[in-house]
Subunit: 221 residues, 2 copies
DNA sequence: CGTGTATTCTCGTTATCTATGGAATACACG
DNA sequence: CGTGTATTCCATAGATAACGAGAATACACG
């Protein structure tokens, strides 16, 4: 193998890491903050062994780094450029692959019998609305992900607990729900639940990952 | 397979396309402009059958599009977002994989026994220098790629012909050579040749692909 | 409507990747 | 220093991908 082939072999490695759907899912989870192997296994539905193997692959591709803390090992994205690469990848897929949009609508549950659509709100529009104070920004991700980084001023009610904690949401204000990313189902599930309860809800266009990469502030703890 | 898995399967496809070194090389060639299958086979060193198969793969991944013109079929990148994705991929590889830098230096021939380094010049610095007019911008790619798009005002002398056409370059001006991209060897080969002939040469940091994606003007024909 | 050229298709061989169970390792805790 | 937990290593069977030679297809040209 000549040196040029060797160079392209090296340059292609990160793409190899992202080329498996389960690894892409792991990257999306890691974009929410660092996580241990078995937390990732639980969240992804993979076996621990398989998860570990995929994380090794991602590490050798240069996409993730890890840190030991006692018995467990926490993996994290290797950098913000990696998060941006993942977002760019998904954006290219959506723009140039016809099969993505129906798959997205199916996964997010956007195809209603009555033809209604979930209303979205852009980042800039949300920022403008938030300044007038007449909107509740609702983070429906699990608590650990909220703690690792969220939109300043957002209220945290994980999707699993939302049905039982409806009373924490003032009835007179519009709600804007968000979760991990453009392709995460949680904010859409939350919207259906809240709409059934008679609330006015919109979904933020893009999750906290896109928010952060756009240079918007993120609060933690 | 549930619908979420199906969605990630779809989103990962473009990465699958970029995950093979030869396909990444084809993408780099296509970033210079559209090309027929056998032109790509020749330029990449692959067999025609294999090249065609890789192009099919890239097409199904949504990374390239094609156009029939008589007997031949011209492939092209599916869009500028795709070119940007490829650049971002290479950038991530370089930033997070230790093996990339030595492979790059080996492929570009940057390791000299005397420890000397090739001098680079950034885009902004080149633009500033070009306005004073005391610099020759030299495009050393094949003529067809120059025709498809080049830096305005650049002089075209393909690397193969450079040794025979040295007299076309004024001796009193500094030369800035460029080619396809950050990882393309041609401008470095040209630099060595020109330095041996006693010329003062620098290499543009990034090729015409990065130039275009940075929003700089590109001339064609 | 035959001939030549460019591209794609078919198919078989070989190599690589994935998932998983069980063993091995690393660390914390009493 | 044994026990329990988290992670990685090892071996393997099944699936998928790469390559190239030859056949088939699509088009241009006379």
């Amino acid at each position: 193998m000549d040196s040029t082939a060797a160079l392209y072999e090296e340059l292609a490695q990160p793409a190899k890491g992202l080329s498996h759907p389960k690894r892409l899912l792991l990257m999306e989870l890691l974009a929410q903050g660092e996580r241990s192997v078995d937390a990732l296994a639980n969240a992804s539905g993979l076996g621990v062994t398989t998860t570990s193997a995929h994380l090794q692959t991602l590490r050798h591709c240069g996409l993730v780094a890890r840190r030991r803390d006692g018995q467990r090992i926490h993996y994290r994205l290797a950098g913000d450029d990696v998060a941006a690469l993942v977002v760019a990848l998904k954006s290219v897929a959506r723009a140039h692959r016809a099969a993505v949009e129906p798959a997205r609508r199916a996964a997010l549950g956007l195809d209603f019998a009555d033809g209604s659509e979930v209303e979205q709100i852009g980042r800039d529009a949300l920022i403008a609305r938030a300044q007038t104070g007449d909107v509740i920004v609702l983070d429906v991700r699990p608590e650990t992900e909220f703690a690792a980084g969220h939109i300043p001023g957002a209220l945290s009610i994980p999707i699993d607990e939302l049905a039982d904690r409806l009373n924490e949401l003032p009835t007179e204000l519009e709600i804007v729900a968000y979760c991990r990313s453009e392709y995460c189902v949680m904010s859409y599930d939350a919207t259906r639940l809240l709409q059934a309860a008679g609330r006015r809800v919109r979904v933020l266009d893009g999750g906290v990952t896109e928010w952060r990469l756009a240079g918007q502030p993120v609060a933690s703890s």
